[in-house]
Amino acid sequence: MDAQQLMLFLSPTAPRRLRVIENILVGKRTVSTLYWGMRYQQLPWLGYEKQLSRDEMNRAVADLQSRGDVKLDQTNATLTPQGIQSWQNLMQGRYQPKYFSVRLVIDTATLWQRLLLATQVVSEQSYQNHQYYPLQVTWQVKQFIKHWFHRFHRQELQAEFNTFWTVFFTQLPEQQALLMSRMLVGHQRPGETLGQIAHDFKVSESEAKVIVTDLICQLAKRISDCEADSIKSLLMGLNQPLVSASAQQTLQSYLAGTTLEKISQQRSLKLSTVREHLLEAAIMLPKGQFDFQRVLQPELVAEMEKRLAKTPLDAWQFKQVEDLPIDFWQFRLLEILRSKSTDDNH
C-alpha cells in the first residue's frame, strides 16, 4: 500500500471511510465492510493485502495529507480540489485492473504458486535436470505439485506448457507479456522480483503488483478454458464460493421458505447472525439469486421509498424510517437492493 494506491480508493464526489478501505484490503467479511465495499465498488479488492498493517495505512494517509491532496474528518477522507486533480491524473495514467472480480471466486494466490512451481519443474525437466532448488512454496502447494507431476510427467509437458504460455502471451499487449514472462522461474532463470520489474518498467511497486495480480486473474480464466488436462488440473480445489459456507447454508434454508426464527433454532445461531448471513448473501450474489421481496413487502418498500426519495442513497438514515414496522436489517436490505438496481442501470 502506498499513497497512490490509497488515492484510487477515494472518491472525487464523496468522503470515504478509511476503515472500510482498510478492512476490505485486509479481507474482513463483516456485513458493514462488505456493504460499504460494494458502495465503493471495492469488493474485488477483498483480501488484496492481507498483511496490511494500521501503521502502513496511516503512513499512506499522512502522505496524502502532507501533499495537500486529502482532508481528514476523523477517519473519513475527502479529496481536496488539488487532490481531485491528482486523482484524475492517476485514473488516466495508472493501470486499472479489469479482472479482479475473479479473485472472489478463485484462490488466485495459490494458483500462481502452483503455476510458477509447475513451470519451474517442467523447465528443469526439459533439461533433464534433477538437482535444482525448487521455489519455496507452502507445504500444501509442494505436495500438490508433487502429485501433479507424478500424474502427468509422462505427457508432453514441455510442449503443453510452451503452447499454453505462448497462447497466453500472444493475446496480451507486448509489454504485459514481457513483464509476466520475466516473472517466470526455470532452468538457469531465477526469475525477476516485483521490485525489479517495477524498476525496469518504470512503475511503482504497488502498480506493478496490481498489473501482475490482474494478469494472474486472466491466467485463471485462461486455465479454466484450457484443453490440456495437465494445465487445467492446476485449478483443482481452488474455486471458492462468493459467500461463506455457513451463510450459504442459511441462504438455502431461507430460499426453501424456512422462517428466520426456524433457521435460527435449527442451526443454533443467534437471530442476528442469521440476518447477517442473509445480508452477506444479498451483497455478494447477483441480484437475481436473492429473494428480496420475501423480506421487503411492497407496501413497506413503497412507504420507505417515498420518504427517502429525495435523499441520495449514501446519505440514507435509518431514523428517517424507524417509526415504520421495520428493523434495521430490512432497511439495509433495501439499501442493497437500491444499490444493485442503480448499478445495473448504468
Binding site: 504458486q113 510458477l116 513451470t119 517442467v122 523447465s123 526439459s126 533439461y127 538437482q131 535444482y132 532448488y133 525448487p134 521455489l135 519455496q136 512454496v137 507452502t138 507445504w139 500444501q140 514441455q158 510442449a159 506448457f161 510452451n162 504460455w165 505462448t166 502471451f169 507479456a177 514481457l178 509476466m180 514472462s181 520475466r182 517466470l184 522461474v185 526455470g186 532452468h187 538457469q188 532463470r189 531465477p190 526469475g191 525477476e192 522480483t193 516485483l194 521490485g195 525489479q196 524498476h199 525496469d200
Partner: protein, 487 residues
C-alpha cells in the same frame, strides 16, 4: 565401532572429497567414539558435513536444532538437491496436520530440523521421545549464550529437553565462541565434560578494514564508491530492514550494479528469486539485515560491508565470514560514524526488560497479550517457575553482558593496533606476528589500495549472466530458454 577408514569412504562416496577440512575428522572421531562434542569451526569450514556424514555412516536419525526458519528450509533444500530425500524441517509455518504427518513417521527421516520453540512443545517432544535420536545437533550453539534470557528463552530449556530425549549423543556447533561462551554453552546444556574441537577463527584472506566518517552523507558517498569500484559479488549488512531497502534503492540508482535488499519481510517468492540470482551471479550486491541468515553457501563473495556497528564481535565475525570462502583475497569493511554505537546499544537493550518492567509484569496474572514481547517473556519465566529475584538477577547480568559485548566491539573499531590481533585475543587465541597475512588490516595499512589487493572491478569481464542482456530479451526468447527449444 566406526573406523576412520569408513569415514573417509563416506566422505568420498557422498561428497566426492578425499580430504577432511581441519576439525571435521576430529569432531567425527569424537562423536563416533561416543563423546558429546563442542565444535568451533570457522564459517564455511563445513560444520554441516559433520552431522550429515554422521547420519550417513550410522544410519540414525539426526535431529538438528536451528534458530532460523529460513536457514532450516535452505538446509533441507540443500540436502534434497544432493539427493537426500529423508530431510524435513518442522516449522511454525506448518499447519497442525502437516506437523502431525511428520511426527507420526519420524522413522522415515534421517535429518530433521526444528526450532527450540517447536521442540519444547509437548506434542513434538513426546513424539521424539518415542524414537531414538542418533545425534542431537545444536546448530549456531553460541545463540544459547549470546541471545540469553531476553530473546527466545526456549534456548535455555535445551539442557532439560536433552534429558527428556534420554540424553542422546550431542554435537554443539558454532563458528565463533570465546572461552567464556564455550563454557556457558556446555553449562546450559549440562554437558560440562563435552570434548572441545576448536579451530582457529582466523581467515587470513580477509583484509580487515575500518573507516570513520564525520557525517552520514560522507558514509553514503563512500558506500556508493566502494560498491562501484570493488570486485563483486558483495554483501552489505544493515541493522534495520528500512535502511537496507533505502540503500538498495540508492545503490541501484547511483551505481551500474544490480542490487537488492534481502531480509525477513520478503515474501517467499521474492526471497527465492533474489537468493538464486545472487547464487547464479546475476545479482552483484545484497543489502541484508544481520538478523537474517542466508543458508546457501556462496564461495566467491569478495566483500562484506557493515553500514552499522554490530552489537558484538561474535556476530561481526560470523557475518564477515561470508567473504572469501574460496580462499581468494577478500575484504571486510566497517563504516563507522561516531554515534553509531548508540544505535547498536539501543537495539541490544531494547529487548531486555528493565527492573521496574520485570516487577510490573511479575504482578500480572496471565498477561498473554499478543504483540507484547516483554510481557510474554516474563510470563515464560513465571510459567517455568522462576522467582522474580532470579529473573531480576539474570536480566541485570544480561544488561551488563550486552554492554560489555558492545564495548569489545567498539574496541575493535577504535583500536589503533592490529585488528586481527584484537580478534585473536578476543577469541582467546595466541598467534605471533609472523602468522599474519601480508595485507592484514587498516591499522597497519590505513590507506589501503584495493588495487594492490586485486579487489578492483574490471568492468570488461561482466558478460556471462549479465542481467542487462537477459532483460532485453522478448518473451519468445524467455520461453525458448525455459523449455529448451533452442535446437
Amino acid at each position: 565401532m566406526i573406523t576412520t577408514e569408513q569415514l573417509y569412504q563416506a566422505l568420498k562416496q557422498r561428497f566426492g572429497f578425499s580430504q577432511f577440512r581441519p576439525g571435521q575428522l576430529e569432531a567425527l572421531t569424537a562423536l563416533t567414539g561416543g563423546h558429546d562434542t563442542l565444535a568451533v569451526l570457522p564459517t564455511g569450514a563445513g560444520k554441516t558435513l559433520i552431522y550429515e556424514l554422521y547420519g550417513v555412516v550410522t544410519q540414525q536419525l539426526v535431529l538438528i536444532v536451528s534458530p532460523l526458519i529460513s536457514l532450516m528450509q535452505d538446509q533441507v533444500t540443500a540436502l534434497n538437491v544432493k539427493g537426500e530425500k529423508r530431510a524435513a524441517a518442522l516449522t511454525s509455518l506448518m499447519t497442525y496436520p502437516e506437523k502431525r504427518e511428520i511426527l507420526r513417521h519420524l522413522a522415515a527421516y534421517r535429518y530433521l530440523f526444528v526450532s527450540p520453540e517447536m521442540l519444547s512443545q509437548d506434542q513434538v517432544l513426546s513424539a521424539f521421545q518415542t524414537t531414538q535420536v542418533g545425534l542431537l545437533v545444536i546448530d549456531e550453539a553460541h545463540c544459547i549464550s549470546t541471545w540469553g534470557p531476553d530473546f527466545r528463552p526456549e534456548y535455555l530449556l535445551l539442557g532439560r529437553i536433552r534429558h527428556q530425549l534420554n540424553d542422546p549423543l550431542t554435537l554443539m556447533a558454532t563458528a565463533t565462541a570465546t572461552k567464556q561462551v564455550r563454557n556457558d554453552i556446555k553449562q546450559k546444556l549440562q554437558l560440562p565434560q563435552a570434548s572441545e574441537i576448536v579451530q582457529p577463527v582466523d581467515r587470513p584472506n580477509i583484509f580487515l578494514n575500518v573507516e570513520t566518517f564525520e557525517a552520514r552523507v560522507d558514509k553514503d558517498d563512500r558506500l556508493i564508491e566502494l560498491v562501484s569500484s570493488l570486485k563483486k559479488p558483495g554483501v552489505i549488512y544493515f541493522s534495520s530492514k528500512k535502511k537496507a531497502n533505502e540503500m538498495a534503492e540508492l545503490l541501484t540508482a547511483k551505481t551500474p550494479c544490480s542490487v537488492a535488499a534481502y531480509h525477513a519481510d520478503l515474501d517467499p517468492e521474492t526471497r527465492f528469486k533474489i537468493q538464486q540470482q545472487f547464487m547464479q551471479d546475476q545479482l552483484d550486491v545484497i543489502c541484508a539485515t544481520s538478523a537474517f541468515g542466508m543458508g546457501i553457501d556462496k564461495n566467491n563473495v569478495r566483500f562484506v560491508v557493515h553500514y552499522h556497528v554490530p552489537s558484538d564481535l561474535e556476530s561481526y565475525w560470523q557475518e564477515i565470514g561470508r567473504a572469501g570462502r574460496d580462499g581468494q583475497q577478500s575484504v571486510a569493511i566497517l563504516l563507522y560514524q561516531p554515534g553509531d554505537e548508540q544505535i547498536a546499544q539501543f537495539l541490544s537493550e531494547a529487548t531486555v526488560p528493565q527492573e521496574n518492567e520485570i516487577h510490573y509484569y511479575f504482578q500480572q496474572a496471565a498477561p498473554r497479550v499478543a504483540g507484547d514481547d516483554k510481557a510474554n517473556l516474563i510470563w515464560f519465566y513465571k510459567q517455568h517457575h522462576f522467582s522474580e529475584e532470579q529473573v531480576q538477577q539474570s536480566f541485570a547480568a544480561r544488561r551488563d553482558q550486552r554492554l560489555t559485548a558492545l564495548r569489545k566491539m567498539m574496541g575493535y573499531v577504535r583500536t589503533p593496533a592490529c585488528k586481527r590481533q584484537y580478534i585473536w585475543q578476543y577469541f582467546n587465541q595466541t598467534a605471533g606476528d609472523d602468522e599474519k597475512p601480508v595485507h592484514c588490516c587498516s591499522s597497519e595499512e590505513p590507506a589501503v589500495d584495493f588495487a594492490t589487493l586485486g579487489l578492483l572491478d574490471t568492468p570488461a569481464k561482466r558478460q556471462k549472466g549479465d542481467p542487462i542482456n537477459q532483460r532485453s530479451a522478448g518473451w519468445q526468447f524467455i520461453l525458448q530458454q525455459l523449455f529448451n527449444l533452442n535446437g
